[in-house]
Subunit: 362 residues, 2 copies
Amino acid sequence: MIYDIINKVYALEKSGKRVVKLNVGEPDWLAEPQAIDAAMQALRAGKAHYSSGAGEIELREAIARFHTCESKNVVVTPGCKFGIYALLSLVMKPGDNAVAFAPYWTAYDLMCKQLGCQLKLVPLRLENGFAPDVAALEAAFDSKTKIFIMNTPNNPTSKAWSESQEKQVIELCRKKGVLILADDAYRDLCFEPRGDRALESGVVIATTFSKAFGMTGWRIGALLADEETIKKLTAFNQMTVTNVPTFLQLGALKALELKKETEAKARMLSLRRAQIAARFLKGKLAYAEPDAGFYVFPKLPDAYAGDGVAFANALIDEAGVALVPGAAFGDYQRFFRVSLAASDDALEFALRKIVEVAEKSR
Amino acid sequence: MIYDIINKVYALEKSGKRVVKLNVGEPDWLAEPQAIDAAMQALRAGKAHYSSGAGEIELREAIARFHTCESKNVVVTPGCKFGIYALLSLVMKPGDNAVAFAPYWTAYDLMCKQLGCQLKLVPLRLENGFAPDVAALEAAFDSKTKIFIMNTPNNPTSKAWSESQEKQVIELCRKKGVLILADDAYRDLCFEPRGDRALESGVVIATTFSKAFGMTGWRIGALLADEETIKKLTAFNQMTVTNVPTFLQLGALKALELKKETEAKARMLSLRRAQIAARFLKGKLAYAEPDAGFYVFPKLPDAYAGDGVAFANALIDEAGVALVPGAAFGDYQRFFRVSLAASDDALEFALRKIVEVAEKSR
């Protein structure tokens, strides 16, 4: 569904139309120039051979420091998505299941299917601000449940759980012997900074250079876990991608040195955009105000005749604005995801059009 | 086993010892400066966003031209190893098998195991110059055989089959309804140039920028196949690695423009090194003279007391020369793989030591 929209956007742009692409899940900023310089210097210096499947030791040490663990607890992967795929491949056998709250990131489901496994979904509700439902989660676990995927701040809602909510969920998983994958892709972008998650037992952390650092296209992420799991993930890297390009890892290392400033900038920008969105959407469309990142996940008014797919199509056809229908994230047919990572002008234009088209059938 | 040696090398180097690393499967040359410049320009220009899971269209078109097909028949992957893993993931179910001749590249076996599948091996013999045994291959196929992995020129023997040998094998696979994966990683380095393999039905081609182009650490390869298979491989990319970094693909595109010159240089250098090896090994150790690439796969003299593992350990301990025991490539306990991708001095030193240590127990 996400790719249907992308293909439509490509076709429109090819025909010469301008599209405001609020469908894409990536920031509109790029890596810091110092990170780019560091990568290029390393490439020039010939750091372009096969290298460690675990990742460059300096980068692993730097990542570990932020998560209160050691380099032996870190593996560098070509994007944290690949890390997640590797982990699921290693912990699940065909017939097993993973559990996640919905709305959820589509990739989890595709991965489980590819591995002959199931993704069991526990739906959360806008009416509760998409707060985690611990009782429903417990009911979803069965003897085949190997892993719970915890994604907070969430894609697509941008809601972040409180510390006590996280604690409750983690304790339940521990009690049930279910491994937790903390997909923290958007944690750096919490409007109220959370700090980095300290590694703890029973939890695997997925982290990325794609979002706050603006390095989506570099394809660098990392998984943090107990030493045994990291050894297995390293072997999985060696068997599949061999290693992440060394010169890119050295660029990421430089980016990490600038983490505090980079995150502060990205966070302020994201907050400002969330405020712009609020200005247009509040009182017009029901949605949960974001705690982080650059998505909002509004609901269509009851009076709107079609579903999210019809709305997304109408919006792209009538206004040249692309977004993703809610059905791409679970049983949320009347919702849609808007990425706010765009210039003020484009964003304001698009938000105005979103409200206009949504209110049309009233 | 390959990794045991690598770890031993790391430990020795850390303790300050110099090791001649003839164990590593990569060239000692690097990408052409123009390719490096193109990648860096693209990174500077901001070509560092999410991009097509299939690969940049210009690169796909350029690759397709060399293989007499179209861009829709090409998917770019982070190394052709990843492409091979993706293909095996898509065509094999747990319990299925793949077939390959031995000696073979270790990664095939690791991948099959990870997928709950088996790699069935058909051993070839030094006495026959490791020529393909078509009757034995036919006997190895069963109802669970989904794919035959054809690796010529071969890692570790560097033997390349004749066109008629290839044809025989391909025809057998077609007759049996077994998909062929042509792992052509070393084809560009045939001492007698073969030209690029034209895509034909029933065959998936794996090709790479790692070997002749000297771009191992860039992690770029490609698979060529029918359009339906490419669509599935593209979806697999999207689900796992998303895409290969765009700026690196644009560097690879520039490298491809220089393919003819780059290959000629790499081929001449490889041939010269094969001649150096012959000078030291001929009449001393039994081995098949290489047709391509940078490996030789000699056999220990009958009089040598230990096996390939003992020999590799003795050599690294006594002479600081690293190579890979034959057992890493199948049931070849008395063999070892030497990579010739080293400076003349290092190579001559190492070859002299190899013969010395091998002859010791005579």
